[in-house]
Symmetry: C2
Subunit: 336 residues, 2 copies
């Protein structure tokens, strides 16, 4: 490469001071008088000095870096989460190392190891499975600050998350109140045991004295719009008399909406639809879609704050789980 970088030593040579004095001056130590500080500053400027963060990290034992693990950011809401987190971390002087696990637990393990090897000060993880958290718990027990962006009250790790169970519950309650009895569910992430939304769905139905009909449930492998479209087709093919639909993401909901449109069904008259995440595309859809809001700002703010707190702590405190109650945003897709 042959990229010559300016070091403290170069400034020291140029100014005649020792490396240590230069270091102190550039860090505004009160022990250095104004004029030497100035001399050194100017020399640094002239040589286009940039501190070597790597060397600093080695001695200070902190990298001012946080690892962010997401499953996949094709989900628009995770995109917003990622960006908000990066911003908030940057405000606090931290950089973001970013990696995706593609929903594969093995991949996720590797990513976490890589982060550890790179000495990140802490990690924010959107786990691929919301259940199988042993591995992550171990990371915490090894003393690494970790905050999950989704998880259970009994996770044993810090969590800051939307309360999606509550979200599912609220959405179904809303549909029940509109008089619906045959409510379908297009779920996501089922195969990895992410059942919170389905649990909320079941609970609301149970309270209303309605049994869960498996014929109204489907769990596509992806969160894509195409997946929602296909899932809706499958549900309707079963002829289960469905009059309302809850979709685990707005992308799925948009796919379902498109299907109804193709078949000439009226929304919400023939089919009410509620989604999750409240993405902008849902608001401007052919029929604006009601959606369980994902409070990106609150989740990211609290998660980052908690993580920074953990990083600063002498010993990790008891894990704390913060579930944020979601708002249901009502739009035309579920209101006459």
């Amino acid at each position: 490469m042959g990229r010559p970088i300016t070091r403290l030593k170069d400034i020291a040579n140029r100014t005649g001071f020792s490396v240590n004095t230069v270091s102190l001056a550039l860090r505004d130590s009160p022990r250095i008088p104004e004029d030497t500080r100035l001399t050194i500053r100017q020399a640094a400027e002239a040589l286009n000095y940039l501190p070597n963060h790597i060397a600093k990290s080695l001695v200070s034992r902190e990298t001012k870096t946080v690892g962010l693990v997401l499953t996949s950011i094709t989900n628009p809401v995770l995109t917003r989460v990622a960006q908000a987190i990066e911003l908030r971390l940057a405000e606090r002087g931290y950089s973001t190392l970013f990696a995706t696990s593609n929903g594969d637990p093995e991949e996720q393990k590797k990513v976490i190891e890589m982060f550890r090897s790179r000495q990140v000060d802490g990690m924010l993880i959107y786990p691929s499975s919301h259940r199988d958290l042993d591995h992550i718990r171990r990371v915490r027990q090894a003393g690494h600050p970790v905050v999950l962006l989704v998880g259970d009250p009994d996770a044993g790790v810090d969590v800051v998350s939307m309360d999606t169970r509550q979200g599912g519950y609220k959405a179904v309650r809303h549909l029940l109140e509109l008089g619906h009895r045959r409510i379908g569910l297009i779920d996501g992430g089922h195969e990895r045991g992410n059942l919170e939304k389905a649990e909320g769905y079941r609970q609301a139905l149970a309270e209303a004295g309605i049994g869960v009909d498996d014929g109204l449930l489907v769990a596509p492998r992806t969160h894509s719009v195409a997946g929602g479209h296909a899932a809706m087709a499958e549900l309707m093919a079963r002829g289960a008399g469905m009059t309302a639909l809850l979709a685990a993401t707005d992308s799925l909901a948009l796919g379902a909406l498109r299907w109804t449109q193709e078949k000439g069904l009226r929304v919400p008259d023939d089919m009410a639809i509620v989604g999750f995440d409240n993405i902008e595309f849902a608001e401007y859809a052919a029929t604006p879609i009601s959606s369980v809001d994902y409070a990106v700002a609150r989740v990211t703010e609290l998660a980052v704050e908690r993580l920074i707190g953990l990083i600063g702590a002498d010993a990790l405190p008891e894990p704390q789980v913060k579930l944020i109650e979601p708002e249901l945003v009502l739009r035309a897709s579920s209101e006459g």
Copy 2:
């Protein structure tokens, strides 16, 4: 923090070998015989050793880290770009440091400095302005491998990008062939001098002997759906007799589509619409939207390959600009 990490020294103490021997053994040096290698391996395993990447970087002078600068990843296509890049870099053993500039050139400068300070081996930059690249050129001249994800043939820096000028040209040609003469343009990023799409638009019109009517142009500040909606309202309020629309992103196009729908316009009969990026939401819109495809896979693959090439080179070769010709994906929004 008090997080005790296992070091080579710990393994050395445990096995009785020297630190150096341990280092060599773990790196599979041929100078270490099989059985000592095994002893050391086992000890490393037992102590749960993870190499300290920071220390290694300090001596090897490479961090195996690449900095990725995006303007903002709320644009769904940039999201896909980010994820694909992370994946491809990971395959090649590189980690991704991620930062957003929010489209602010000053912010972008800071981010690049931060990356340099962190000794990244190279950078991939989606510049906030496609014109004012002096600052980035200087980074390259300082010997840092840089590849832009958007830019001009005469950028003076390596570029791998979609040829958006060509994309704008193709889209307008298509609309002209359908008989449209009054074609509107909702552009994006205008204020920062990102004029490629508009240039393609102008060129196609000029070739058809049609003058550009400024009454048909509008440049909202954002790429959001809401922005597209508002922009469409503004365009139509001007009463310029527009029969077709080119939008700089699919998000803008979706907003415009929504507006036509609210006003009872038929697409494409009353208003043809073509967008950019070919995101999934465009495909499944109320009227599926024709769009200039963004070849995420090709762009990211070529960009990463080029960057890795630059990182490995002894001296930076002449900058190379690769513009990928986009496909126009036709859908109902522009075809009877």
